[in-house]
Symmetry: C2
Subunit: 325 residues, 2 copies
């Protein structure tokens, strides 16, 4: 708390010296306490010069998704209201499930600098190298039945797309059911999981992985062709912190809209951003392949494909994979 | 394995002596091994006389739900295929969730002699005293979507009712949504929980609590009026082991029927056993109360109540509680 206040003060006067005495007065702590907090901030990667008779000067902020950095002028009502931060996790979804089972409140954010066992849908892996992306999970406790939860994945896709557009200036397309693409390559994946009784969701965990500053050499060989990052698209690094905060704000906006107005308006926005509709597609299950024309997505998020004979076939995510033909 | 074989041999010749030599020959173990297994069985509560030159005589079997006892002529294909046995657990559902997350196969049974934090639906408690009931959970891995899972609770109610009828000779009625009553008092509760991705159930845990040999003094004051046990109904103890095994067989029967033929036939049987239909009921939510006539249950398990004005109101379990008027 006091540490965060000191940091904020140094940030306001960034690249200028603030005297220890001023810090003591403004924050209400002792000189020893100031020094302890400064040392702790340095350990976290903040570059702070200390010069006798002049004071402290913040010259550099580390590229980390620290809770205090996320909280600073976040201005959400409950999303990100509590932040669980880790240098490294097996997977943020896994940790979020454990925290949620232990009672972590709705809106809690779990964020890790790296995931060593990041997971995507259907037990696929998710490459999550240290410090190069946003690997996070939100804990949500909507009062809905299990069958009413799927829109959360779609509103998350809309929120990520919206945040990326605002912060990086590029609008990702949504590939059904819930990947975000730029230039045909994957920039973000979403994995929603739930714990429920039959008639009542206990909690949802929405995991989001965004490739932010991954360079081509960082990607393993098998991903170079199918994945990309904002850095690769923009040609320069993008602030993970800025993007994460914008995502939290946009997520809260769409989440509240879903709770208050239902799924209709979000589905419309989802469709506008979707790149899988209005084009020929191939849908594959482990046993079968269908070629057709992706016509629409229904209110349950199922894909409606016009078959060559003219009939409509309905596909549910989780059963099939899709590619544009 | 060898221990189970020795036990089976002694059971076949129950109340007669079997010589140590015979055991060695038939099971293929050394005299020392026989002695070690006999000692271990005694520790588990089996009464086994040992007389020089005559051998071993099984005179009493403990009232425990040991895995080997459950496995003996169970004759199911996969339900109860693996048994996790505990003297005491916080709750069998909780342990089952942990085991399922760790990869325990579908059909696995978790059983405890007592639960110190037994749970019912909607975070209510469930009284689970040591050795007096069946407190167990099944892990299931059906390939369904989250919205398709609710029938599992209803088929469990049918399976318990069927097993109780066969073993104890009394047919419990089902109170919507999923309690079993005898003489208007609760004899069994069911709590189904699930872990899922949006389009795919990961696993279900079906918890079942059956009051078998609880006496009136065992029940806490607040339950005496609303709960009962098979012992109280029958006037004599009922074999927990026999009942549990019958339940596992009946559960497998109805579960396979659901997978193969859908929910229709089970819903019909559920309705036949239901005591909440065709009578005046009061439905209560935390905020409202409705009086009406319970007319039917739809294919999603929702209760359809004819209101005084003639219209039909649909109630979903988890939102309301019900009592007959």
């Amino acid at each position: 708390m006091k540490k965060a206040q000191i940091l904020l003060l140094l940030k306001k006067e960034r690249n200028q010296f603030v005297s220890g005495e001023d810090i003591c007065k403004q924050i209400g702590v002792s000189r020893t306490a100031v020094w302890k907090h400064i040392r702790s901030l340095r350990e976290e990667g903040y570059h702070i010069e200390a010069v006798t008779h002049r004071g402290y000067n913040l010259t550099d902020v580390p590229d980390r998704l620290y809770p205090d950095e996320i909280a600073e002028s976040l201005n959400t009502e409950f999303i990100g209201g509590r932040v669980y931060y880790y240098h490294s996790l097996e997977s943020t979804n896994r940790e979020a499930r454990v925290l949620a089972s232990g009672g972590a409140p709705g809106g809690s954010l779990v964020v890790a600098e790296e995931q060593v066992q990041g997971r995507g849908r259907m037990s696929r892996g998710w490459f999550s190298p240290k410090g190069l992306g946003i690997w996070c999970s939100l804990i949500l406790r909507p009062e809905v039945q299990p069958g009413e939860a799927p829109p959360v994945t779609m509103l998350t896709a809309v929120a990520v797309a919206s945040a990326v557009e605002k912060v990086a200036g590029v609008a990702p397309g949504i590939k059904w059911p819930n990947d975000l693409l730029v230039g045909g390559k994957k920039i973000c994946g979403i994995l929603t999981e739930m714990s429920a009784e039959m008639e009542m969701v206990n909690f949802l965990v929405v995991g989001v992985g965004i490739n932010v500053n991954t360079s081509l050499e960082d990607f393993p060989e098998e991903l170079k062709e199918i994945a990309t990052s904002l850095y690769l698209v923009e040609g320069e690094p993008v602030s993970r912190l800025k993007l994460l905060k914008q995502f939290l704000r946009d997520f809260e906006f769409y989440y509240r809209r879903w709770i208050n107005d239902g799924f209709g308006p979000i589905l419309e926005e989802w469709k506008k951003r979707c790149v899988s509709l209005g084009c020929p597609v191939r849908v594959s299950s482990p046993r079968e392949v269908w070629d057709g024309w992706a016509e629409d997505v229904d209110s349950d998020g199922a894909l409606l494909v016009r078959m060559p004979g003219g009939s409509i076939k309905r596909f549910v995510a989780g059963e099939v994979s899709l590619r544009n033909n």
